[in-house]
Amino acid sequence: MADDRLVAPGPPSEEPVGFDVTGAAAGARRALPIALSVCAYGLVFGVLAQQAQLSLLDVALMSGFVFAGSAQLIVLSLWSMPLPIATILLTTLIVNLRNLLLGAAISPWFLRISPLKAYVTLFFMSDENWALTMGEFAKGRRNAAFLLGSGLILYVAWVGSTVVGRTLGDVVHDPARFGLDFAFTAVFLSLLVGLWKGKSDLLPWVVAAVVAVAAAHFLPGKWYILLGGVSGSIAGVVRHAD
């Protein structure tokens, strides 16, 4: 379960944690293959954003300021006029709450560099480069700029590919005719396969699915996402936390 990764003990107290160009360059190199798959995901986001009627500027601003693939993708399904701003922000919060875990796990190293460097670097923290960086730290390397370098490469890949995808979207008309409306669901299903950690996920996922299907049937709008997600995760805690 997710809390296994929180037992990382942190750096030995007598050794300093570095933050320099060497570390950033190493991070950038290691993140390159991941940047390629981020590009594929970004292209899909861009095409779907066009269907949701986001402008090219909207896409560039959102990718540049938010830089969070799954949250941005989910928000597309909520993007209708007039914009339900409160629902969108609440959904963004719920989807991104896991960042709290990532930040908490990486804090033993980042508490040893200047706060300014730490707070700038954390803007570029995503699931992928967080995992890479924790792997580096586990091997005893202590250069916190690794997270910044790997994050910057993923950032460039994400902003660039979503903008290109949005431009391509103008060429594809009537996506449902080619099954492209299913792309959104397909991306999430693939992500789910990667998130499956074993039997302890079964009950929370079943609860989430049942609640979501019922809520989608009886309630207007997209409340089923929050209701299903929150009730499923609570079911998981009640069943497994003790």
Binding site: L102, L122, I225
Partner: protein, 104 residues
């Protein structure tokens, strides 16, 4: 290239909320430790939120969507290739819809 005031406001709000979640775990660790239950809850969230997003499409739209969902998950589980799984899923939904339409 254009945007609207509500869109801009929404995007900026999303940016603030997201950055907030990125720094608050780090910030909190200066003062407190998360309880086991809290960690477990945060750990379950990404999966259950995504299940909730896809469940209505997969389970209550039609046979084509359900079949394509199974195909996507199988390909992803075997190959761990997001791009391939997506292409198979889209192809499957396209084919199954054609099939359904021709049977009617």
């Amino acid at each position: 290239m254009q945007t609207s005031f509500p869109a801009l406001l929404t995007i900026l709000g999303m940016a603030l909320v997201t950055y907030g979640t990125r720094i608050s775990g780090f910030w909190l660790m200066r003062y407190v430790t998360l309880s086991t239950r809290m960690k477990a809850w945060l750990g379950f969230l990404p999966g259950t939120v995504i299940v909730a997003i896809v469940a209505p499409t997969v389970f209550s739209t039609g046979l084509a969507e359900a079949g394509a969902a199974v195909a996507t998950v199988l390909v992803m589980a075997r190959t761990r290739n997001v791009l391939l799984a997506m292409i198979v899923g889209i192809g499957a939904v396209w084919g199954l819809r054609l099939l359904q339409a021709s049977l009617r």
